[in-house]
Symmetry: C2
Subunit: 253 residues, 2 copies
Amino acid sequence: MIRIVIIGAGNVGQHLISAFAKSDTVEVIQVFTRNPKTVSSIDNPVKAVHSYAEIMEADLYIISVSDSAIAEVSENFLFENKLVVHTSGSAAMDDLDAKNRKGVFYPLQTFSKSKEVNFREIPMCIEAENPADYQILELVSKTISDHVFNISSEQRKALHVAAVFVNNFVNHLYQIGYVICSENNIPFEILHPLILETADKIISLSPKEAQTGPAKRNDTQTINSHLSFLSDTTRKEIYRILTKSIIDNGKKL
Amino acid sequence: MIRIVIIGAGNVGQHLISAFAKSDTVEVIQVFTRNPKTVSSIDNPVKAVHSYAEIMEADLYIISVSDSAIAEVSENFLFENKLVVHTSGSAAMDDLDAKNRKGVFYPLQTFSKSKEVNFREIPMCIEAENPADYQILELVSKTISDHVFNISSEQRKALHVAAVFVNNFVNHLYQIGYVICSENNIPFEILHPLILETADKIISLSPKEAQTGPAKRNDTQTINSHLSFLSDTTRKEIYRILTKSIIDNGKKL
């Protein structure tokens, strides 16, 4: 049995606790949170502590706190030479304090407290300072996910930027679609099938093959009519730069 | 039986032919294409003609050609006072020639020749000059779709702009994610679960509730690190304007 302590009980921490609860080879023996109130909302009750002195001996410590707190939390540990990882897409492995063996255990997914996810589908991006620790992380990852990738800190940074484009920015384009609908008394639900199909297409077609629309066709008349429809300056600017980028991208073919 | 002639055998036309083939109340009696070669690729063989003189008498004529050809095609018809509709999201109903009764029959979805879609899930946006014709369009729509909406030309224009944001532009953001992955030797498939979950979230959460990421948190350090990672000028500009828009949007809450 691999014994794990989870540090932090935010979205990622809580989803990890639920995922590990189904495992036979891994046990979450403790959760550390600075704020005692956070723990009460954890579905799978595990022993929770709030002071560094109470943290138990374990095979793996998974820090899932905000990026800016990773360094401080890892410095505060009272133990040494243990395997300590963080779950961040953007923090470097070296943000972790050097007194312990470092690694990264990054589940590449967007987590909401209110929405269950199937962890087996989530790509686990792992990295460790030495091969033995990598093997532990690989074993632990495989108990919860079917998709485990060896991703260096450099690649993880690229991946995080890519994730911002395909998740954060995509969601913001949904938001713009939502606002345009409300302003014109159209239920946003009318766009749901299009949104789902747009995402689904990418599983079988490359984004370049899947691209359609006025920018792809360089249909200046429709583009100009859309630009004059958009009164909001920022939306106009977003329309303009994305259209330009699609046109330029087509030329590179 | 409502007898339909379909004009044009592009993506939309061919998907309509397949969808109507399953209907008991609607029959596609003929397909008109200017280019005889197009028709050979139609799955459901229906009588195809290539000259306006051969077009049969029908209850409904559905023009699914490129926006710029709608006016010309509808002018070329040799009959009068028939119900003639187009399937375009962006063309006005009045692009149709006035000698026939006008309407719009717009399936709000992205169609690829190579990918089947479930037409019953596709929102049909319909519009007609008079109530009797609207009823015909409603009846025809309901034989293929469970989601029929009365959408005016004004609303349809807004909807088309919104669709450009949530489909064309979203797909282009996938493309940027794809390029960032290839440049860093990361398989794009690693982003598939995130892409699907991002779309899926929108069915149960509003885009505002679903928004996460450095821009939402106004995390200047991560934003700047991402901007310096991006070497391509256009990608940098897209990152900047979308980040600004998310931050401004948060302030409006």
